[in-house]
């Protein structure tokens, strides 16, 4: 029963990983296709100095590709922990920035926080910001779960460690995954 539960938990973690990967590939491609829109969006946060312009421009050029590469890594299950950590760090940087900007917009326009709407440059167009913040918190949680999870179902890392015969993690490639991991093997 415990093994069944653990297997479901590990499968769910893999589903989360694949979902995060797909999401970041999508938003990354959106930003790569419109680099100027993304540059304008990050400029509005006033997080980075205008002069010298290298920081702002480099962020607009590199960040979308980082999202795509991390998305691909998550989707394939390759360097999962590193990719999920990068994504979690991005949320740590941008979610407070979105919140602060929404307060600024609220103050400027004299409107309620719950009606503030703008394009945060997140790759999803103009959105009601409190909803966007909730989504970001949820995605941040998913990124943390992925970074901490040992699940390597349908993952290159799972295949590679199985081939090397040194799987520290429970993975789907094993005929009986729970036997490989004493921590969740109900017979131990």
């Amino acid at each position: 029963m415990i093994a069944w539960f653990d297997q479901k938990r590990l499968s769910l973690a893999s589903v989360i990983r694949v979902y995060l990967g797909g999401y970041f590939i999508y938003t990354g491609i959106y930003k790569v296709l419109g680099p100027v829109s993304f540059l304008k969006a990050i400029h509005l946060y006033n997080l980075l100095p205008e002069t010298p312009p290298y920081f702002l421009n480099a962020t607009a050029i590199i960040l979308p590709w980082m999202e795509i590469i991390c998305g691909i890594a998550l989707l394939l299950g390759w360097y999962v922990r590193g990719a999920a950590t990068i994504i979690a760090l991005m949320f740590c940087a941008f979610t407070p920035a979105i919140f602060l900007r929404s307060l600024g917009v609220m103050h400027e326009q004299g409107i309620s926080f719950f009606t503030v709407e703008f394009d945060c440059g997140c790759g999803t167009g103009a959105e009601i910001i409190w909803i966007k913040l909730c989504k970001n918190m949820a995605l941040f949680s998913l990124a943390c779960i992925t970074a901490l999870s040992k699940s390597r179902y349908f993952a290159i890392e799972g295949l590679m460690c199985k081939r090397a015969g040194a799987c520290p993690l429970n993975d789907s490639t094993s005929p009986n995954p729970d036997k490989d991991n004493p921590a969740i093997d109900p017979t131990t």
Binding site: S37, H43, P52, I86, A147
Partner: protein, 195 residues
């Protein structure tokens, strides 16, 4: 922990390398989307002697009065402005047909293709290298250059006016249409679509 740091570093290096190559490839005019690493796209320079705004006795445009926040211009600048009525009047001016009055649309490709002032030349500040040749074909000989973008909080037209100054165009012929596309479209004035 060390393994995670190694993974992060590798992913950052791979992403940066791909981004650098992709950005270089996009410098090709046929592809677009290139960003210059060292260009300050948001540089705003104040002129030593700001010219007064053109005033007209014509009544203000009222067609968008129910949405004042959309037509009110929020960007500070020191360029002379032109009213909606004067822009509309320029459209029928014979000088406009002779390219002595030109309209410069400072919005991006997508917005320009959806609709623009008839006869307008597109010149996106952020990708000026693609438009500068066409712009310099008409701008130096123009008597009036009307620059616009979306209006509201869109600063692209102000940045475009600065670009024109940097290209050697005299400040006295540059006019900023603050209402921009939102005011133009809302007034029911004629529009042109496509490139």
């Amino acid at each position: 922990m060390i393994r995670t740091i190694k993974e992060i570093l590798l992913l950052v290096i791979v992403s940066t390398a791909i981004a650098v190559v992709a950005n270089s490839v996009r410098a090709n005019p046929a592809i677009k989307g290139h960003l210059s690493w060292g260009k300050n796209y948001f540089k705003r320079t104040a002129s030593p002697e700001a010219t007064p705004a053109i005033t007209t006795n014509a009544p203000p445009v009222v067609t968008t009065a129910d949405k004042p926040e959309e037509t009110e211009y929020h960007i500070e600048h020191d360029f002379q402005t032109i009213s909606h009525e004067d822009v509309a009047a320029l459209l029928d001016d014979p000088d406009t047909q002779a390219y002595l009055n030109i309209f410069v649309d400072a919005r991006n490709d997508e917005a320009f293709q959806k609709g623009h002032i008839p006869g307008a030349i597109q010149a996106d500040h952020y990708e000026l290298e693609y438009y500068v040749e066409n712009l310099l074909q008409y701008a130096p000989s123009a008597d009036k250059i009307v620059v616009y973008c979306n209006g509201g909080s869109c600063e692209d037209s102000v940045l475009m006016c600065q670009d024109l100054l940097e290209l050697g165009i005299d400040r006295s012929v540059i006019f900023l249409y603050e209402g921009g596309w939102k005011a133009w479209e809302a007034s029911g004035a004629p529009i042109e679509t496509g490139l």
